[in-house]
C-alpha cells in the first residue's frame, strides 16, 4: 500500500514525459551530433588496431553507452532542487505524506524511463551505423549490464540531488554542478580510464565518476566476469551511499527552510 504512491508518481511522470515529448527532440539531435563528432575524431586518431585495449568499433559503442547514461539520467534534478529550495516551493512538497527524497526519485524514474527508451534506441541505431555490430557480445550477460546501468543512473541521480540540496546552506552552488559534470566527462564519459596512467586507474575505478560511465560502458563493449565482479559491488555501495547522502543533506536542510510570504 505504501509503495503504491511511488509507483503512482512514476506513472504520472511517464505520462508527463509523453506530453513533454518536444523536450526530448532537441536532445535527440544533440545526441546524434555528439556521436558524429566523436566518430569523426576517433576515426582520425585510429589507424587500425587498438588503443588502450579498445578497437575503433568498441570506442564508438563506448561513447554511445556513456552518452546514453548521461542523457537518460542527466535530467534537471540539480536545477530543480536548486530552484525548489531557493524559491521556497519545496515547502509545499512537505505538506504531503511522502518521503521527499524518494518522491523526487520516483518522479525522475518516470521521466527517465521515457528517455531511456528513446536513447537506447538511438544508441543501438547509431552504434550499428557508425561501428557495426559489437564483436563477441555476450547476450547472457545482458541482465548484469542492465543492472549496472540502473545502478549508475541511481548513483548519478542521488549525487546530483545531493549537490542541488546544498542550496539549503549556500546561496551559490552551481559551481559544484559544473565541477561534477567535468569530472564525469574526463573520468570515463569520453575517455575510458584505461587511457590514463596505471596509478590513476587504480584510484578512479573506485570513484563514482568512473563507475557511472566507464563501469557499465566497459562491461558492455568488452565484457568480462572479472570486470563485472569488480564494478557491480562498487556501484551498489556508491549508490547506497549516494541515497544516504541525499537523505542526510535533506534532513539537515529541511530544518533550515526559510520561506517568508508567498
Amino acid at each position: 500500500m505504501k509503495i503504491q504512491k511511488y509507483f503512482s508518481l512514476i506513472r504520472i511522470n511517464i505520462k508527463n514525459a509523453l506530453v513533454y515529448r518536444a523536450n526530448v527532440t532537441g536532445r535527440v539531435i544533440f545526441y546524434f551530433v555528439f556521436i558524429f563528432i566523436f566518430f569523426s575524431l576517433w576515426g582520425m586518431i585510429y589507424s587500425g588496431g587498438e588503443i588502450a585495449g579498445y578497437s575503433l568499433s568498441q570506442m564508438i559503442w563506448y561513447l554511445c553507452i556513456t552518452e546514453l547514461i548521461t542523457f537518460t539520467s542527466g535530467n534537471s534534478v540539480f536545477g530543480r532542487m536548486n530552484e525548489e529550495v531557493k524559491s521556497g516551493s519545496i515547502a509545499y512538497q512537505l505538506l504531503r505524506p511522502w518521503n521527499y527524497v524518494f518522491k523526487q526519485f520516483s518522479e525522475a524514474l518516470g521521466e527517465m524511463s521515457f528517455c531511456a527508451a528513446v536513447f537506447t534506441a538511438m544508441a543501438v541505431v547509431l552504434g550499428l551505423i557508425f561501428a557495426g555490430p559489437l564483436q563477441g557480445f555476450p547476450a547472457a550477460a545482458v541482465p548484469l549490464m542492465l543492472l549496472s546501468m540502473l545502478l549508475s543512473v541511481t548513483m548519478n541521480f542521488f549525487l546530483m540531488m545531493s549537490l542541488g540540496l546544498t542550496a539549503f546552506f549556500m546561496e551559490e552552488n552551481s559551481s559544484f554542478y559544473l565541477i561534477y559534470q567535468k569530472l564525469l566527462f574526463i573520468f570515463g564519459l569520453f575517455l575510458p580510464i584505461e587511457f590514463l596512467p596505471q596509478w590513476a586507474q587504480n584510484i578512479l575505478r573506485y570513484l563514482p565518476f568512473s563507475l557511472i560511465t566507464w563501469g557499465p560502458a566497459k562491461m558492455i563493449v568488452d565484457f568480462s566476469w572479472h570486470h563485472a565482479a569488480l564494478v557491480l559491488p562498487a556501484q551498489a555501495l556508491w549508490a547506497a551511499a549516494a541515497v544516504l547522502l541525499a537523505m542526510f543533506i535533506f534532513s539537515r536542510g529541511v530544518k533550515k527552510v526559510n520561506v517568508q510570504g508567498g
Binding site: M1, K2, Q4, K5, F7, S8, L9, I12, K15, N16, V19, Y20, S89, A91, Y92, L94, L95, R96, P97, W98, K255, V257, N258, V259, Q260, G261, G262
Partner: protein
C-alpha cells in the same frame, strides 16, 4: 481538545545584512552579519474543532509563516504548536494525512495533464482506497461542477476552473482541518460564491475546521464567526466577525458616473473620496446612512453607471490600527 493550539509560538528568521561598499562585501565573506527578523512573536491561539477562523492582517504580518508552522513546514524558534494533538514538526507525515491546504497562488496539479490524473495520484499518496475515492470524487465533482473539464489538461483551464480543481484535490482525503491561504484571490463572484458554499457545507456536514487567511472581506464575512487580526507578528485583535463588521465593515464604497456634470448634495455619513465633474467616489457609513438614502438624493436620470463595493480588507485593517492607536492600545 482544541483542533489547533498555539502556545507562545515564535519564529525568528536570520537575514544576512549586506553593507554598502567594497570593504563590507569583502568582510561579509569572512564574517557574515545576520540580523534577526521576528516574523511571529509569542502567538497564543486556540481553535476549536469545527470552528471557522479568519486569520487576517496586512502583507508581511506573519500569516503565512504561522500557517507554515502549523503544517510542519517551518520549525518554530520557540513556543509550541499542537494540531489535532500532534506536533506538526516531529509528526509532520502523520499530521499530513489529516489536514488539507489550498494556497491560492500555488498549484498542486500537474500542469500538462488533466485534473483526474492528479486526483488519482493524490488518492494513492494519501492511501485512500479506490471505492472511497470514487465516492468522494463524485461528490466533489457534483458540488464544484467539475464534470465538464475533468479530462482537459490543467494548462487549458481558466483560473476559476483550476481553483475549483485545487479544492477538490485538497479535499479527496477528507481532511479534518483545512488551511486556506488566499483561496479566492483573483476569482469572479460566481466562483467565489461556489467555493464559499462548498466550505460552509463541509464545515456543517463533516465538521471540518477551517483556518482561513484572506484579503477578501466577503470571504471573512460569509464564512467565519471569529476573526484574529495579526500585525507585525503578534495577535492584535481576537473578536467575533460580527463585531469586526459592526466596528469596521460598516462602510460601502460607491462609485458613480454621471451623464451630465453634477454636484452632490451634502449628506451625513458620506465622505467624498474622489470627485470630478462626471465621476465621484464615496465612502458611506451604513450605520448612520443606508446606501438607499444616498441614491435617493441623486437624480436617477443623470446616473450613467454605479458600483457598490465593500472596502478592501487592507482598508479595514488600516482602520483597525488607526483606532487601536487612537485608543492608546
Amino acid at each position: 481538545m482544541p483542533a489547533i493550539e498555539l502556545t507562545n509560538l515564535s519564529k525568528t528568521f536570520r537575514v544576512k545584512v549586506r553593507g554598502e561598499g567594497f570593504k563590507h562585501a569583502v568582510a561579509s565573506v569572512f564574517k557574515p552579519v545576520y540580523k534577526p527578523v521576528e516574523a511571529v512573536k509569542c502567538v497564543n491561539l486556540s481553535v476549536e474543532q469545527g470552528e471557522m477562523l479568519a486569520f487576517i492582517g496586512p502583507n508581511g504580518a506573519g500569516k503565512s509563516t504561522t500557517i507554515k508552522m502549523l503544517t510542519g513546514i517551518l520549525h518554530p524558534t520557540s513556543g509550541s504548536a499542537k494540531v489535532l494533538g500532534l506536533d506538526p514538526v516531529r509528526e509532520r507525515r502523520r499530521l499530513s494525512y489529516r489536514i488539507g491546504a489550498v494556497f491560492g497562488q500555488k498549484s498542486q496539479l500537474s500542469f500538462h495533464l488533466p485534473p483526474t490524473d492528479s486526483f488519482r495520484l493524490l488518492c494513492d499518496v494519501y492511501e485512500v482506497d479506490r471505492n472511497t475515492y470514487r465516492e468522494r470524487l463524485g461528490r466533489l465533482v457534483e458540488l464544484l461542477e467539475l464534470g465538464e473539464f475533468l479530462d482537459t489538461p490543467v494548462r487549458k483551464l481558466s483560473l476559476g476552473q483550476r481553483v475549483r480543481c485545487e479544492f477538490a484535490a485538497s479535499l479527496l482525503h477528507a481532511p479534518e482541518i483545512l488551511f486556506l491561504d488566499e483561496p479566492t484571490i483573483g476569482l469572479d463572484v460566481v466562483v467565489k460564491q461556489q467555493i464559499r458554499e462548498l466550505i460552509t457545507r463541509l464545515n456543517r456536514e463533516e465538521n471540518v475546521t477551517v483556518f482561513l487567511t484572506s484579503h477578501d472581506a466577503g470571504d471573512v464575512e460569509s464564512l467565519c464567526r471569529r476573526a484574529v487580526v495579526i500585525d507585525r507578528g503578534s495577535v492584535a485583535l481576537d473578536i467575533p466577525v460580527k463585531k469586526l463588521k459592526y466596528d469596521y465593515l460598516n462602510k460601502k464604497v460607491v462609485s458613480l458616473k454621471f451623464t451630465q456634470a453634477a454636484q452632490l448634495p451634502e449628506i451625513d455619513g458620506v465622505t467624498v473620496v474622489k470627485s470630478s465633474p462626471y465621476t465621484v467616489k464615496l465612502n458611506i457609513d451604513t450605520r448612520t446612512t443606508p446606501v438607499a438614502r444616498v441614491l435617493a438624493a441623486l437624480s436617477a436620470d443623470n446616473i450613467a453607471d454605479i458600483t457598490i463595493t465593500d472596502p478592501p480588507m487592507e482598508e479595514i485593517i488600516a482602520a483597525i490600527y488607526t483606532n487601536r492607536r487612537e485608543d492608546g492600545a
